[in-house]
Symmetry: C2
Subunit: 170 residues, 2 copies
């Protein structure tokens, strides 16, 4: 299946000059959505994966589906002040300023095998922050999976210590 046909280009979103890759046109197509999730499942179905870590918010959609099908637990990595219990935090750089992601300290047990899932690999800062959170909890990052990779932003270099998979490249 040519997944790229299901991605909609939206110009000037979220700001002027940016061509946004809209995945909602893929999500709403039952065949394309299933195909995309199956690509992620296929990579891990023969490995012992304990937890899927989904990155807020679009990573939750794929992460929930993959966790259910692989029979793993699901752990959210969330924006600040969304998680109610004790958390650890990592900051990461944006073009202007910084942002923060959090995980619950009891989200991962030491030694657990995890796969981190998000919709889009851009500069890689977000996923790297989540990988650090998992490792601070003494989990193993078995893979980091994205639906889309924006290759011109070279996010893969920032994640060079990890097994990175992306299924659509622009």
């Amino acid at each position: 299946m040519q997944l790229e046909k299901f991605i909609r280009d939206v110009p000037d979103f979220p700001q002027k000059g940016i061509m946004f890759k809209d995945i909602t046109t893929l999500l709403k197509d039952k065949n394309a959505f299933k195909y995309a999730v199956d690509l992620m499942i296929e990579k891990y179905k023969n490995q012992k994966i304990d937890k899927i870590v989904g990155i807020e918010s679009r990573g939750f959609i794929f992460g929930g589906a993959v966790a259910y099908h692989l029979g793993c637990g699901f752990v959210p990595a969330r924006k600040p002040s969304k998680l109610p219990a004790e958390t650890i935090k990592e900051n990461y750089s944006l073009e202007y300023g910084t942002n923060t992601l959090e995980m619950h300290v009891d989200g991962i047990q030491p030694g657990e095998n995890t796969v981190i899932i998000d919709d889009l690999l851009a500069t890689g800062g977000t996923a790297l922050a989540v990988a650090k959170l998992v490792e601070r909890l003494k989990g193993n990052v078995i893979g980091i999976d994205f639906l889309i990779e924006l290759e011109f932003l070279h996010g893969r270099e920032k994640l060079k210590d990890y097994n990175v998979n992306a299924y659509l490249k622009f």
Copy 2:
């Protein structure tokens, strides 16, 4: 399975005096997460469902899993300014002030059967806003499913025109 054992009570979150029902302790348990998703799937597996509408953000986790397993498309209902293409909006009341949810105008086709999914039924305002969005797009709301219902907030009364399911009641 006694799902309530997997819910963590967090006092004074997000503000003093509120006892927050934390579902992350259920999500991270592979058996409890699978069991919860299976309850939702069971309700709809013999019906023709075209789209699962997941409400941002925790509704995405369950919604993604249910859509994948039922072989439906997934459509997000999101907070303002998150969806890149043309949207319709509904406002709903909070204790203080109002909030807004949006869906893409092309998320649902006329006549499609939809199930709306979120983690928690509180006052019902959010889910009612999403049901109105689906109906403005001429979709059919076959059901509205929640993991948890806070019965003392009487949200089910606000949703009395709909088939509402909740799997854990407090």
